[in-house]
Amino acid sequence: MPRVKELNRIRSSPPIMMDSADAPSSPASSEPAVFSSDGPMESAGIDNYQAPRMKRKFGGAWWDKRDGSAHHNDSGRDATSKKTKLKRNIDSGVWMHSDDTDNDAIAYSLPIAPNPPSEEHDYESDKYDSSQSLENFVHDMVDDGLACHSESYDLTDLGLVDKDLSPLGGLSALIKPPLDPGSRVPGKEYYRSMLPQILLNLSKNSLSRLTPSLFTIEHLTTLMLPNNDIKELPPQIGRLTNLTLLDVCNNRLRSLPYDIIKMLTPRGKLERLSLMGNDLFEMASLHRIITLDSESLLHTTTFERRKAYLDSYRTGLLEGDSAAAVCLTKYLEEVEKVCDPDQVSLYSKISIAGTKETQTPLFHIGNTAPTYYDDAGRRLRGSPRQPTGDGCTADVIVKMKDGTWGSPSSWFSRPGMLVPSLFSLCGKTALEHLSTLETRAMMARSGVELFNLDRFLDIADDNHELVFGPFRNCHQCGKKYVVARAEWLEFWYRPVNFVPFRVEVCSWACVPDEVALE
């Protein structure tokens, strides 16, 4: 049975999934409606019309099913068997390659194409080719999911691109299924929130910038995006305030948008943020921290002893590279501010003073010197650059009780002019009413060529790529802007990473003093 082996290989890494078995869809008193996505085609025949059929549950437990042949001919009549669950996941559609010819792993990575309602299908020749049908597939899946109140959606390894995701916005209409107590007196469990907890697994696709509708799913609590092609997360991710798990492992991220800071615990609900396998900016000489940790810091029991150890480490360092000691000192200072130091170990959860709960901590460590830009997005002469290239590390300034570490030899002071320019005010107004294309056309008609305006409109177009519109929102004051006037990286410690967050602001005035002043 070579195909069983193949199937297991492909599906060997099941994502974290909610158990859909407890969803109370089967004991409903009336027959579930027949949807194209109900059981497999053969299960909906005349002979078994009365048999209960389960709705398709996305993210069912097919991966703990090791019998790869189960999907061949299982009728799906036995609603309680694992086979049925398997069926529900892969039903309703047309297999790329028909069952009898199929020996090909591709068939499982692109399992389902939607079944147009009124067409006779030649299963052999129905080659999956247009990208349109993937979007339709997502659309149908959302419709079915809404109908059966499914909270879990598995779209792993389908070759999805960004635009295929747009139907997912429909999930914002999802509510939990009402429970039917039947003739019994409703117990406590019948009085519960109708708010769903939506899980969306988009692992192993070809996503790079996602899609606006994704960020309208208010009750999305788990978003899995590992193994895609994401270089930058859209700031709109900040709208997903109910997110408790965000997995962006194995993408191409260099930093995270600052909007994620307020989502993270203890400020927000985001408890688990998985970042492995990205090329995140690192603080210069960070490897020394890791060396230091593993040596003995973790085994030093109390805060006082850790501090003593650290001091001895610092005095042992000559004026050369002391990044490691500095970051740890800063870390311990921050810890001291908010929690019981005796409870803290660098790699563990901490208990915030005064509470019993343990939460993953989040501490500001330092930031890069800010870069300042003019109205048209040109870096001001003499203003430092942010790190860019591959493998580039960031020179971080860390401010501590007893002084500042890492200050550049020459400090570029914040420019004095803090009033928005007439040029930027007008540019903003123009784009509130016109597209960049229309603005360009009108300028062309007027016969005037403005080099700065061209740059301004180019940046608005770039914004479109990331935020799906010409405007971004200032990380400091929240106002919308087209051209960022300053940016810098902030490093926050979140066990066990020093995470770089990119901050961009609408005006020079929006650079806070802690960042702007030496």
Binding site: L418, V419, P420, S421, L422, F423, L425, C426, G427, K428, T429, A430, E432, H433, T439, M442, M443, S446, V448, L450, N452, L453, C477, K479, S507, A509
Partner: protein, 102 residues
Amino acid sequence: MATINLTEFVTLESSDGFEFKVLRSAACLAGTIKKALDPSYGFREESEGRIKLATINGVTLEKVCEYLYYHQKHAEAKDVPDMEIPPELCLELLIAADYLDI
């Protein structure tokens, strides 16, 4: 008295002949006007305290003057509210702003 008035205000003239008397300090927030009024350049504008802006019409120039005062008023402020720009004027104002360097 008259001499003080002369130096304190400058006159900006639009392409269609409208004149606006503006505080010199406010007018000089525009790089182009400041240059034109700089004695070291020796332009005629300097002696007369009067600048003809042949590419800017009266309606636009009025808004430009409003901006110059807005800028001066908020120069020291930390949190500056955006000035309202009438949409129908924004392209003309863009051209003026680019020319005047404001």
